[in-house]
Every structure is written in C-alpha cells, then in structure tokens.
Symmetry: C2
Subunit: 107 residues, 2 copies
Amino acid sequence: MSDDQLPNISLRDFQELIREMYFEKDEARGVDGTFMWLMEEVGELASALRDGTHEQRVEEFADVLAWLTTIANVVDVDLSLAITQKYGSGCPGCGQLVCCCPDEGKP
Amino acid sequence: MSDDQLPNISLRDFQELIREMYFEKDEARGVDGTFMWLMEEVGELASALRDGTHEQRVEEFADVLAWLTTIANVVDVDLSLAITQKYGSGCPGCGQLVCCCPDEGKP
C-alpha cells in the first residue's frame, strides 16, 4: 500500500470512536479494572514483539492503543491535546525537533 | 478550550513526529531497551491515575503514547493502519459500533 492510500485517522476521532464503542462499559468497570486489561494487552504486545509475526504485532499495538485510549476516556484526558502539549514543540528534554538529549538520560 | 480549538493531530503525523525526534536513538537502543522505558512510563501513569492531578495524568498519557509509538517505529508498524484494521469496522468482538459483548468477556 502506498503512503497516500494508508488510512489517516486523527487521534481525536479515534478517541471518540473508542468512547462511542466502549465508554458505557469502561465507566462501569472503572480505572482499576480497565488498567488490568491494558496490562494484559501490554503483555501480549511484549510476546508479539519477542516472537510474533508482523500481523500479530500490528494487532497488539492496536489493542494497547485502544485500552490506553479507553482509560483516557474514563479520566477525561484528551490524548491529542496531551501529546501536542508535551511533544508539539520538540523533545521535552532538549527542546530540539531531533532529540539531542544525552544517551544515558531519559530521551 | 472549546472543542474546535483543541489540537487535532493525526496519528500518522504524530508517529512521524516521534520518528523524526527519536528514531536514531530508538533504533540504536532496540526493542528490548525501548520496551523498558515504556514500562517505566506505564508505572508513572498508574501512579498518576491513583493519586495524580489531572495535569500529571495528561503528561503521563502523552509519555506512554510516545513510547508506544516509538516502539512501533522500531518494528515498522503503522499505528493508524493498525487501529483502522482492528477497530474501523466496529468492536472486534461483537462487530457493533457500540460494543455489546458480554461483560465478563474481553470487550
């Protein structure tokens, strides 16, 4: 698939989609229980990264992102705003677009 | 901030931004080391969810999303394509836009 054929969903639209799909259940389950599901998916991602196929990795990234988004919905965090605030002006560590923080530090 | 003033970054643009900012370091560090950073941020998110302020939660969501994205870059997974494939046609469990999977199952 060439780049211009790839889907290009906005993070807000995705967060809204996940809200529509799962919010009622997410809110009833609450943060703690939802976080447990996120952790399960993180484990599956680790497994796919270690010895999964590309397609399995794709699927696990989607799941982790969906569960992260679902928790953001429960606590009313706008992910698009969050990343724009933190990363929209360059690396939060060094302020550069191409990070030049020391390798040993948190990049 | 009203909804139409909120930033609306696409997931692909965000992934590209993170690639530009960190890819050289991410690739040198590799998946395992990068996954450790993701886990550290997941821990900080858990802490912020438990007793952090809204602003701290916002920041930790941004960091988890950035580290997840950075790993996706290292293993060449397009997050936008991943979520469109998995969630673009409704809940992967029940196929409905508003999930109606049994509560006890993985939603």
